[in-house]
């Protein structure tokens, strides 16, 4: 039965996470994203819960290259469908032009969820079998949930 201590130990030992805070899920390297999901699935976190991408626009004069150029922060959640129902959440940061490994080969539910995050936030997943938009029409321009996308961006001819 998975426990939060186990999850923490796993991240600290194998994924080099040292910072823990109540308010922020652990942040891991983007290359470890798929590997962590694989390990967690083996350890009993078999229920695919969510993936959230949020766009952080570039900050001028930031020391970190990623922060300066702007990035997408992606949080993924897996759950163990057991009596204590543990939830494992981790974050990764992806540059705006980079791709992230898809989880579709592990979790079939990632198919639509990743399509939705691509559609709305514009994060691209490498190896996704069906990389189309999910919510908006195919010929839509831009990704609405990016911070630089105005809420009332006109779309002809209805607006």
């Amino acid at each position: 039965m998975p426990t939060p201590e186990e999850f923490r130990a796993l991240l600290e030992d194998d994924f080099g996470v040292s910072e823990w805070s109540e308010k922020q899920p652990p942040l891991i390297e983007a290359v470890d994203h798929h590997r962590l999901a694989e390990v967690l699935k083996e350890r009993g976190y078999t229920l695919y819960v969510f993936v959230v991408a949020s766009h952080r626009p570039g900050v001028e004069g930031a020391e970190d290259a990623l922060t300066a150029a702007g990035y997408i922060e992606l949080a993924t959640g897996l759950r163990s469908p057991t009596e204590n129902s543990q939830l494992a959440i981790w974050r990764v940061r992806v540059g705006l032009d980079e791709q992230l490994a898809t989880l579709v080969d592990l979790f079939a539910g990632a198919d639509w969820q990743e399509r939705e995050q691509f559609d709305l936030v514009g994060v691209r997943f490498a190896g996704h079998p069906d990389p189309r938009r999910l919510m908006l029409p195919e010929d839509w321009e831009g990704h609405p949930l990016r911070r630089d996308y105005a809420i009332n961006t006109p779309h002809p001819p209805w607006r």
Partner: protein
Amino acid sequence: MSASSAARPSSAAPASAARLGVDPHRDLSDYDPEADLMVLNMGPQHPSTHGVFRLKLHLDGETIVRAVPYVGYLHRGVEKLLEELTFVQATPIVDKNDYVSPMTNEQAINMAFEALLGIEVPRRARYMRTLFAEMQRIASHLLWLSTFGIDMGGALGGGTTLFMHCFREREWILDLFELVTGARFHYNTHTIGGNRHDIPAGWAKQVHTTLDLIASRIDEYLELSTTNSIFVARTRGVGILPKELALELGITGPILRASGVDHDLRRDAPFHAYDEIEVKVQTEPDGDCLSRALVRVREMKESIRLSKLLVDGIPEGPICGARPIKNPTQFKAKEGQAYVALETPRGELGTYVIGGGKNKAASPYRLKIRPPSLHALSALPYLLPGHSISDTVVILGSLDPIMGEADR
């Protein structure tokens, strides 16, 4: 079938797909070219798609070879809108997401904000929220049963019989809500830190009378549905969803429990007053449409039991733990993230909220609603192939999708 998935260059087809023998992204190039495949579009405006949902079915005769679902016809950009509005203004907005159980939607977003802002909910409010959620579950399942009756067609003593019966009882529950909140549908009765409306005097007695009456009427529905041989013939063995696939797809709620997974957030990750009462989780091993129907009907009975317990156990005290809303920007969040999940009639409704930061502290930076319906709909490409066209509405209906929530 397996040849086509092996031929695919990306070959990222899910492991579970091979287990079920269905490839959701099948391109049909391997299909017998002699067979005259027909493409049938269902929706987006169709009486039995439960909203604006489109299914493209590739048919070989009457058998479905491939099903491609399309969503997004009700994509209203709620997540973007919530970034623009403040925490205070969010509650009435999310009511419209899952319009069959608005109470649980309000609950979810307020729980997320409370987790982010660090606000404690008083015990009375927790009990009231739980009670409302359980009553909403009855109403939601009644609506599901009524529409499922229509989907099943005229075999059950007239197609709309079940619809008429279930709506009659559903109205009683909405009447009870109306007495508390003043609204039939979009209540806006939850607020950050508690509830906005206290229950009026004599309301608990009315709840008991109504629920007793509904409990007696549920046997009548059973007569019309799960014990009726016509109903059973159309649902048994139809649309079998295996346990592993259900978990991989992220399907939760009654559908997951009907596939034999004993998982219910009310018991496993208790929120509100669920840690003080015992929830009996209903499961079925088969994972077919009949199991889903049985689980939902039993959940209705269980909810009636829980509601009666809760309405008697509501403690005295304040109903709101924070300062009541007087100003749109009165709640300010520091940077931080919170994920809160609760069990709605459709499954795990999660809210992932990221705090505002310096410039926009009064509104969320990013808010993601995890819709159980979208996950349920994503099972359709796996469930439909191999079934006949007449089973489509039954399988779709048994998933109980709400498009407002799936598309947001």
